[in-house]
């Protein structure tokens, strides 16, 4: 296990180093994820959120709007994850749940 995990770590580190060379610089405002349009012309989600959030949900906190509205289903999933965790704990630990 020791040797294999060492190999795994080295490979993983090399992969990360290789990947980081191609990432857009940290804070680069022209990064692909910040653009208004992607390379193939589909709308960039982030820019759309920033422009539309207030009008769409009457709320200045964009993160909340994205969280609960645009990507509300993710949040439902997140709640379910929490619920699942609680259920697992009571399944494992509770004597008579």
């Amino acid at each position: 296990m020791r040797k294999t995990s060492l190999i795994a770590l080295v490979l993983f580190g090399a992969l990360l180093l290789y990947a980081s060379s191609g990432l857009p610089g940290h804070g680069d405002p022209d990064g692909p994820s910040h653009r208004e349009q992607s390379r193939v012309g589909s709308p960039g989600a982030a820019a759309h959120y920033i422009r539309q959030a207030k009008g769409d949900a009457a709320s200045p906190n964009i993160v909340t709007v994205v969280l609960a509205d645009y990507r509300g289903f993710d949040t439902l999933g997140e709640t379910i994850v929490v619920f699942t965790a609680g259920l697992v704990c009571s399944l494992i630990l509770r004597r008579n749940p």
Binding site: L9, G25, G27, I50, A53, V66, L67, C89
Partner: protein, 123 residues
């Protein structure tokens, strides 16, 4: 490799190191609690990566500020990764919670949290 490249990427390298540290903790540590600590570090590093990817120079937090007037995407930090990471944090807490439950359950049965001792007692 110019100074700009280093300035733009040094955070990624720190994140990479953190990822490695976390993974090391999960794979190589013999104590089960340490594995969980490693998992937390690993997940925090991933979150950090997303947040770093979201940041923009000269932009403000993603809360619309009426004082700014018009809404220009360049003025606000990308909110999407933040949202995703809120979910990821919650998931990580949930996973940790399940891990805790399993730890307690293991300790109840085997009275140890050390992997080597555990393997011995499982025979």
């Amino acid at each position: 490799m110019g100074i700009e490249f280093i300035a733009g990427h040094n955070l990624y390298w720190i994140i990479s190191l953190l990822l490695l540290v976390g993974l090391y903790g999960m794979l190589a540590k013999r104590n089960l609690v340490k594995k969980l600590i490693g998992m937390n570090i690993f997940q925090t590093a991933i979150i950090l990566f997303y947040i770093a990817g979201a940041s923009k120079w000269n932009a403000t937090v993603p809360v619309i500020d009426p004082a700014l007037g018009s809404v220009d995407p360049a003025d606000y930090i990308n909110p999407l990764p933040h949202t995703l990471m809120l979910t990821a944090i919650v998931v990580s807490v949930a996973t940790t919670g399940v891990g805790f439950a399993l730890l307690i359950s293991i300790y109840r049965r085997y009275r140890t949290l050390d992997e080597d001792t555990l393997l011995k007692r499982m025979r």
